[in-house]
Symmetry: D3
Subunit: 134 residues, 6 copies
């Protein structure tokens, strides 16, 4: 549900939206299209840009999918995005993160939200620099 | 350097601060105390609370240290904390993340900062819920 | 409704609040006072400061009202403020922004929430500077 | 300049990066590639995803380019992104926004960063809802 | 209630959690454990780290408890954290802040969320520096 | 200094700006106008709105000035605003906050930036509600 836009029906006759909805279901191996994609579908070009880009970035690469979903969760918690917190928590769970590991991840997220602000408050200049990557 | 407080010297005579500085160097296997800890040392009780807690949370557990540092980086980038972005980028690099994997992590951080705001803008209600953890 | 304070009734006997409520309804051409103003009315001096300032800033000037409401929406989405997202989406709609244009605006909001964080993550120094305005 | 990664040289021999750099210069009608794109070029696939998507979203459509750049500025100021604030201020200036109109835009950005937090503090529930778009 | 984790029952048989729950009730002089602590109790070590640290920081020191709770409220409103806004508003109220003083605090929170963004937008360099503390 | 706009000179011939500059110096008991006000002075109407409102909100009322400046600092640190962190740290120092009390305030700011995100991550619903204020 969205209180801003009407969700586009999964049975839409728009072929571009149909194709993306089918790809979302196949890629995520679910039998329904999550509401965020149905909301974005009011603007098919933007739906396509978002989905193709998310699909490209979230495929396993040098970094595995679970780590990528953990990053998505860390970002979503830091931004306080309710929908995303629910969906990325569900995702890390489905990918096998157990309760104890989840607790550790959450602790790290909380810790650095604190440390970031202590550093900002004290206005400490960077003293540990990365080297050029090889 | 800090433009807000004087950094406490590593040769401080305060035994509580001395002990923590020694532990920081031993734990991080470095020969100098990073400036954030020298800035926090103006308030020894708070220094101790922060360090003992960071040490407890950042030890490898069910989740390995590299994943924890990746989470720290995701939080720091989302909050725009300059010092922390530099130090956690240096940390993931030292732990072996290569340039390509770093590029993937950064892409995920950028992607969900976008998706979080699209979801907020559309006010989509959560439709994917985690199950109670076992 | 507010879960923090009681909303001041539109029939309040406080003459200062009465005058502002009347001005809000006249300016916005509505027959009810939005809840945010009824919540702020618990502190009449602050209500007056907020309303007179909002009225001064949101009058059409060199920049038209629709553009100003689009800016208000961009800020509110970036901050994740539920009430404000609803009211400014309603405002841009009432001022004639159609579904397609709304979709474009939302896409831009999402895009730069991503780009801002990529730039922060990479710590790129400004290289494109505005000139002094004439 | 970036303190995190080396900037990829404009004379790079990577054909994919070369093509994007050329397109950036043609599209923006400038003779140099802004540093953010040279930083992203360390990961050519991500560079391509970002650039093609930015180009698609930032082309004039139902909404003109100046309004899109104003939205980009509002997002960047709200997120406090230094590089982006400079580049989008330069962009709105180049597109003809004069000093007075800029002052009005900035005032609106400031105002709603305040109003968003007053609403959050008072936890006011949405009472003004958009209608389904036609 | 939490939609992410099961809340640990107050009658839990885990002795570490039992001891902390008892301490929370004694310290806060309430007869029930607030839900945030019951949610954190799924990970007893993290619960303990959070509670002992919060207890140490929130005891009256050079700064009184009401001022500390006002700071907690300012942070929570700026971050838009619903649960925390409710609980810290209740806390300042219980500690004797009256409606008028609350209105003044909220006004200050709103004001500097605005001023912060105006300063960011104008990219003004610091010109007022604190002296080294004695 | 500002990298976005020219700072209006204190010797400006604009009588409206002159009057506000004089009032700023008298109110703050300083002999120079802080750069943020000189930057805002490019748009005299906005300068006046900001200054008169800040002056009204920051006068001592039911809440004393030091507490108000502490709130301003908490907001500025949470938003990561460099200029504001410096100026409000200088302000609390000038108003008599000593190093130990400052350390306590900073600890509270850090703590609730952490707690806010833990609560968001766990999506805990409010269970402690304020009563209607008397």
């Amino acid at each position: 549900m969205s209180t801003i836009v009407r969700l586009v029906d999964e049975t839409t006759s728009d072929p571009r939206v149909q194709a993306i909805f089918a790809d979302i279901k196949a890629t995520k191996q679910t039998d329904r299209v999550p509401d965020i994609w149905r909301a974005l579908a009011n603007h098919p070009e933007h739906l396509e840009l978002c989905w193709t880009r998310l699909k490209a970035i979230m495929k396993p690469g040098k970094v595995d999918l679970l780590t990528k979903e953990i990053v998505a969760l860390a970002v979503s918690v830091t931004n306080g995005c309710r929908y995303c917190i629910h969906s990325h928590t569900a995702a890390v769970q489905k990918l096998g993160l157990d309760a104890e590991a989840y607790g550790e991840i959450l602790a790290v997220i909380g810790l650095f939200n604190q440390m970031n602000r202590l550093v900002d408050g004290l206005q400490v200049e960077p003293d540990i620099m990365p080297k050029p990557w090889q």
